[in-house]
Structures are given as C-alpha cells and as structure tokens.
C-alpha cells in the first residue's frame, strides 16, 4: 500500500502524469514516423534488390544497399542512436532535437529490416502482374507502385505489424540520447522515492496494452483488405 501511495503522490499530486503523457507521445511518434520512413526506405531497397541486374548503376546501387542493410542489422540500435546523436549531428554542425534524431535513426534502422520483408512481399506477387503492367505501356516504376507493391503490402501486413511492435518496444532505449519516452518518464517517477514496483508494473501494462491494440488493429485491417478482394 505504501508503494501505491508514493506512486499516486508522485503521479497525480506532483504532476508525474504530465511527463508520462509526453513520454507516451514521444514513444508513439518515434515508432510511427520511424516505421513510415522505414517503409519508404525499405521499399526502395527492396525494389533495387528485385530489379534485373543488367545495368552497372543498378549493380552499384545494390552493393550500396547491401552495405546499408549490413550496418543497420549488424549493430545494436543503441549504438546507432549514440553515433547519430553524439557523433554525426555534432560533426555536421547542426542542432537536432533528440527526438528527431531518434525518429531518423529508427527510420533508417527499420528501413533495413523492412527491405527484407518488402522483398519477400514483392516476390510473393506473381511475375505476371508486373508483365501485364509493362505490356500496356506502364514504366517499371509505375507498374511497381500501382500494381505490385499494393499487392505485396497486403501479403506482408502481419510481418509489417510485427516490425511496428518491435519499434514500439525498442523506443525504450531512447533515454540514452536524452529523449523522455514513456519508460524514462516512469523511471523518473520511481527514482523520486526509489520505489519502482508500481511504476514499472504499470509501464509494462501500458506497453502490453499498446501492443495488443496494434495486433487487433492489424487483424481488422487484414480482414478488410481480404473482404475488399472478394466483394463482387
């Protein structure tokens, strides 16, 4: 009971809920914008990977993409955050908010993972779809954008949803670059009295609710897209 009272005082009376709400917003922002950037980058890389390698420029592009993916999959995200915030941003001589750096790094990182997901998705679409698009005179890029990629997204939606869940959970490391996310907000509440049981259990519960919520939304979306296909 004492633990609960201490938490209540910190959370309500001393206004801890403000930082929790701000932290929640930061968590969601980083994950959502990170995923959006990741989908764009991942799609571009995936298209390069499935293109016919009959031109030198495409071969070079593919090598660049390979290096990119290797770096972001081969190093911990914390390290990427640290390099971004404490090395690259100062080196470029610009000033960026921690949260902006976090969004960019999460986007770049997730781009590496989404590229693999997206490539599998593109390959799951029958080659005839692209051919039919090209045969009516659409350029490669248009046929991909209007025909192949929409179908592949439908196929990979569950996996893409997983990636979003991974991102949500991974945002808990952004306090390394002084961003207050929801984890950091609850830790501060605990730090005030060195009383962590209640804040951390509630923190876990919040993550769980978010993740279950996303899982549910994705199921809903999937069903809608499937129905769309069948409707006469």
């Amino acid at each position: 009971m004492k633990a609960w009272n201490l938490f209540y005082k910190q959370f309500i009376t001393y206004g801890g809920y403000h930082s929790v709400l701000d932290g929640l917003l930061a968590t969601v922002e980083i994950a959502v914008f990170g995923l959006l950037i990741g989908v764009v980058i991942g799609t571009l890389i995936a298209v390069v990977k499935v293109m016919q390698k009959n031109k030198l420029i495409i071969k070079i592009l593919e090598k660049v993409c390979d290096c990119y993916v290797a770096f972001f999959r081969g190093t911990p995200m914390v390290v990427q955050l640290l390099i971004g915030y404490f090395v690259l941003v100062p080196a470029l001589g610009i000033s960026l908010d921690g949260i902006v750096v976090a969004i960019i790094i999460f986007g770049l990182n997730s781009g590496a993972y989404v590229s693999e997901i997206m490539r599998a998705g593109i390959q799951s679409v029958d080659q005839g779809q692209l051919e039919a698009g090209r045969a009516v005179g659409l350029p490669y890029s248009v046929a991909m954008m209007k025909i192949v990629i929409p179908q592949s997204v439908k196929n990979i939606l569950p996996t893409l949803g997983n990636e979003f869940i991974v991102l949500i959970k991974e945002t808990s490391i952004v306090s390394f670059i002084a961003v207050v996310d929801i984890t950091k907000a609850f830790r501060s509440i605990g730090d005030a009295n060195y009383e962590y049981i209640v804040p951390y259990l509630i923190l876990a519960a919040i993550y769980l609710v978010i993740v279950l919520g996303i899982t549910y939304l994705i199921k809903l979306l999937e069903r809608r897209l499937k129905r769309n296909e069948r409707s006469a």
Binding site: D126, Q129, A132, G133, A135, G137, I147, E229, R230, S231
Partner: protein
C-alpha cells in the same frame, strides 16, 4: 477468305534471335506482319512460340536481329519501349488481370496513365513556348483535364464491357470471375489502349473447356473488325477458320508458313506432318 491487305508491313522482323543464358531459343526469324492480318503461330511445346511472341513487344529483350515497328527498331534497347507497347497489346495464357484493381480499373489504368502523361507533356511544351516567347510555336490547345480524361476512359471502358458482354462486372474484383470472364476482360484491357496489334499467347490454354468458346468468339469479333493479331494457339480449328497465315515454328525458326489450306491440307516438311498428325 479475307483479302490480304498490302502496303508497308506493320511489324518487320529480321534475323530475330533470343538466347537464355547460352540456350539458343530463337535462331533467326524473319517475318512481315501486315496491317489487319491475322497470324496464327503453331508448333510443338518448347519450340519458342512464347519467346517469339514476347520478343515482339520486348517483354524479352532480343539478343540479335531487328524488329521494326512504327519506323523504329524496337529491338534496340535505346528506344522508348513503353511508347511502343501502348500500341502493342498483349493477352496472356494466365490472364494476369491486376488483382488489386476492379474490372473497370483494370481496363482504364493504362489509358488514364497515358493520357495524363500526354497532357503533362503538352502543358510543359506550352509553358516553354510562353516562357521563351517563341513566336513560331503555336500553343497547343488543352481541352481536357484529369477529370475529363478519367470520365472519358471510364465511359469507353463501359462501352468495351458492353461489347464483351460483361457490363455488370465493372466493379467486381478479378478473384470473383471465371476464367473465361477474366480472359475476355484481359482482351478488353488490351483493346482499351487502341493498339495497332494484339499478341495472344495461348489465350484459351488455361481455360476449362466450356469457357474456350466465349473467348474464341470474342477473338473472332475482333477479327471481323480487322484487328491485327498474332495468336499462339493449340486450337487448330480456330487457326484454320480465322488466320490469314500460319507460322509453324520448330527449333527456333519458322520451319514452314502459308495459308491455313497450305499448312493443314498440304504440309511440305516432315516436321509439320508429324506435328499435325499429333494434334489433329
């Protein structure tokens, strides 16, 4: 028999060759295809019929020879192939309707895209004319916007759907259609671009027998409208009835060609005789 039209050929194929990673599939094909002509391509499975057809719109890039179409050698990788493909329709054995689009969107996708592309090009040209105050250049009249382009394309698509007898399927998705319906819509999608020629790769081979007739009937209707067609087919009766000329491909070359009468009633080469004895 239909009169054979003369004039310059629509497509001139010269010494066409195609290899896949060392495997030579086409070994020097020469053929002139005239406007309004209907050509059936027959031959044993694996002889290169599909490859030949797919080279005609550069779905496969030829590895040798030339294909003259609209005054350009489209086998040359430097030509803008998309521009030419607008004029060369293709119908596939597996239909390949766009699964994420409704029937009407399947038909209008490319016409709308191409019309918008032309509109943009005209606007860009007008803009430059105005900007540079070129007195010699007339401004091109822009009588359409994106909305009217879409409306016109949809009206034409509905007209086409009426023509193929599938008006009520305009808003259906391909997965809800039968094979025969899918193939008729695939043909409508090709016609919607108003192509100069349509290439058919075994258009009835993936169909249940009871649906073959409806697709062949539609193709006969196109033949009546003097559409130029190149048709790879195993339907010998259809080839005999509709084609002006038949090409027998064997081992990557045109082994024999002639009118249906010449090919079916009086085959010259041993190969063709053997082939016909198996399929007829």
């Amino acid at each position: 028999m239909k009169e054979v039209l003369d004039g310059t050929p629509l497509i001139s194929v010269r010494g066409l060759e195609k290899s896949f990673a060392g495997l030579k599939v086409l070994n020097g094909i020469d053929i002139d295809i005239k406007n309004g002509e209907i050509i059936a391509v027959i031959g044993p499975s694996g002889c290169g019929k599909s490859t030949f057809l797919r080279c005609l719109n550069c779905m496969e890039d030829p590895t040798g020879g030339s294909i003259f179409f609209d005054g350009e050698d489209i086998a040359d990788v430097k030509v803008d192939i998309n521009k030419h493909r607008e004029n060369i329709g293709m119908v596939f054995q597996q239909f390949n309707l766009f699964n994420n689009k409704t029937v009407i969107d399947n038909i209008t996708l490319a016409p709308i895209y191409c019309a918008n592309k032309r509109l943009k090009a005209i606007k860009r040209k007008n803009f430059l004319t105005k900007l540079l105050r070129r007195p010699s250049e007339e401004l091109i009249l822009v009588d359409k916007d994106k909305k009217t382009i879409k409306a016109e394309a949809e009206a034409e698509a509905r007209e086409l759907l009426r023509f193929i007898g599938l008006e009520e399927k305009a808003d259906a998705y391909p997965s809800t259609l039968s094979g025969g319906q899918k193939q008729r819509i695939a043909i409508a999608r090709a016609i919607a671009m108003k192509p100069k020629v349509i290439l058919f790769d075994e258009p009835t081979s993936a169909l249940d027998p009871e649906m073959v007739g409806e697709v062949l009937d539609l193709m006969k209707k196109l033949a009546d409208e003097k559409m130029t067609m190149v048709i790879v087919t195993h339907e010998m009766g259809f080839a005999r009835e509709v084609a002006d000329r038949i090409l027998f491909i064997n081992e990557g070359v045109i082994a024999e060609e002639g009118t249906p009468e010449e090919i079916f009633d009086d085959p010259k080469t041993e190969r063709l005789k053997v082939f016909l004895s198996k399929v007829l």
